[in-house]
């Protein structure tokens, strides 16, 4: 689990940046690029936009020597990306009404956002939704999240449209899961 603490590694990287060491910037990009993009995309819901935000931040840090004023690298990166992503998201989040709904699904920057963490989170999420059969899960993702048509999904899965609708209804019911609540609070 990654924490907000200022690690020795981060401090060393900052010191090297202050001395103008471009390799330190490369190491920071290697370390933080993916976690920052993954964190950002939950707000923007657009991969390209999130990648632009993160790349832009690194460019600004280097050009404006912003690192001279930073003491906690991790905190600075995540909070900057948070602010820029939320600002970007405001453009396409149409209504204030659902802002509160949106916030129900956000993860704090203090959680891990590495590839491994995300894969693990996904597994745990699926597992906690184990009351969903693989088919129900599949249908739920394809129809709602990937926004596909009933007919297309039915053809792909080799079943009738009515079967798809049935799976989907059951999946929706099972989305309420006691274990899931625990996961949200302790993740």
């Amino acid at each position: 689990m990654i924490t907000s603490s200022n690690t020795d590694r981060d401090r060393q990287l900052l010191d090297r940046l202050k001395q103008g060491d471009e390799n330190a910037l490369k190491e920071i990009v290697d370390l933080y690029y993916t976690p920052l993009c993954v964190y950002s995309v939950q707000f923007t819901e657009c991969e390209q936009e999130s990648e632009d935000i993160v790349q832009d931040l690194f460019i600004r840090i280097w050009e404006k020597r912003l690192f001279d004023n930073i003491t906690n690298l991790r905190m600075y990166l995540f909070i900057s990306v948070h602010n820029m992503s939320v600002a970007a998201a405001k453009h396409h989040n149409n209504y204030e009404d659902i802002e509160e709904l949106e916030s129900m699904s956000y993860q704090s920057w203090e959680d891990g956002f590495k590839e491994d963490d995300i894969a693990e989170k996904r597994l745990r999420l699926q597992e906690s939704l184990k009351k969903l059969s693989p088919k129900e899960y599949d249908v739920l993702i394809r129809i709602i999240i990937n926004d596909r048509k009933y007919k297309e999904v039915a053809e792909e899965m080799g079943v009738s449209v009515n079967t798809i609708k049935m799976h989907l209804k059951r999946a929706m019911k099972k989305l309420r899961n006691e274990e899931m609540m625990l996961l949200i609070y302790f993740f």
Partner: protein, 376 residues
Amino acid sequence: MEERTIYLFKRYVSHELTAEEARELKDFVNSSDYNREVFRNFAMLHKTEIQTAMANHADKETAWHNIISGISTRKRRSIAMRIVAAVVIVFVAAAAAFIYHDRYLKPRTTLTAMMQTEAKNRAVIMMPNGSSIKLDGKESVQYKDNKGNLLCENKRGDLIYYTQSPEPIYNRVTVDEGSTYKITLPDGTHITLASGSELVYPIGGEKRDVTLKGEALFDVTQDKSRPFTVDCEHDVRVTVLGTRFNISAYNHKPLTVTVESGSVDVSTPAAKSILHTGEQATVSGSGQCSVSEVNAGIYTSWASGIYEFDNVPLKDIAAELSLWYGIDFEFASRKLEQRKFTGVLMRDKNLSYSLSLIKDVSDLEFKTDGEKIVIE
């Protein structure tokens, strides 16, 4: 009912909800704990799917290439950018004039006007002969003596003294609420004064003795033969040789001295202690000194226009913001004062932006009541 829910969830995911549908979805979610859980799980699932795809697609190598080429193209673009920046400044100035005008017309400050408040660089210097000079961070002014020698220069919020007179002449500078100001003494010592602070300092003579009310970050030039002393209220004196440290000496909170590098000597009528890098002394009302180890950066970052806070009560954050923007805060309840936050605020952003960052991560509301902001 499920058909409709599925439809609403789909539209939610694709950002296609109409205003009416958004309200309908909100009502659905709020109508029962059951529905809330269904939606929450669904939303988590949705975000996790997006994040998984992002994790799979993020390409560090391409990103690095873009960053490096971004850095070099920006250099080339910088002249064009300067022209754009100049145009933007004209617009901002026009907007500022408008806001000022708006304020002038209405005796009660409106929320919008208040929210536009920006941190500034304004101060007043009192000369020994009683005359005063108003400093505005925007202008650049040079002060010369009768023979045309450059005495000091005011450059965008930075007052630099060049020549040292043989006579001990003391100037006093008072920084406006909501401003910070930098002073460079003839010996090269840099002092950044926080909002509302006052400093009396010599621009001549042998002694390096200053008097502080409020808060300042000192970066003292080393000179072993001439110790640098800072006197604060209640006979607290800090003596240094050459170092970087912060003193916070406000009436409303205990005096603290934080050393970022080097060492200083703190003496009060009741105690004497030596502080080293990364140490902080807190002086009680009776003059007792307690020393602890701290992350000094958090106490000195304000001087660079960045306020970092790690698990700090909202009360202290509000105190900092009132210094920046010259606005008072009031809490609807005692409990709110103790709510803790971690984050970074930038001094060059306006109040509305700073508050929106806090709003984004909490359920707090900021309302205006006359000249102050009520936190609920």
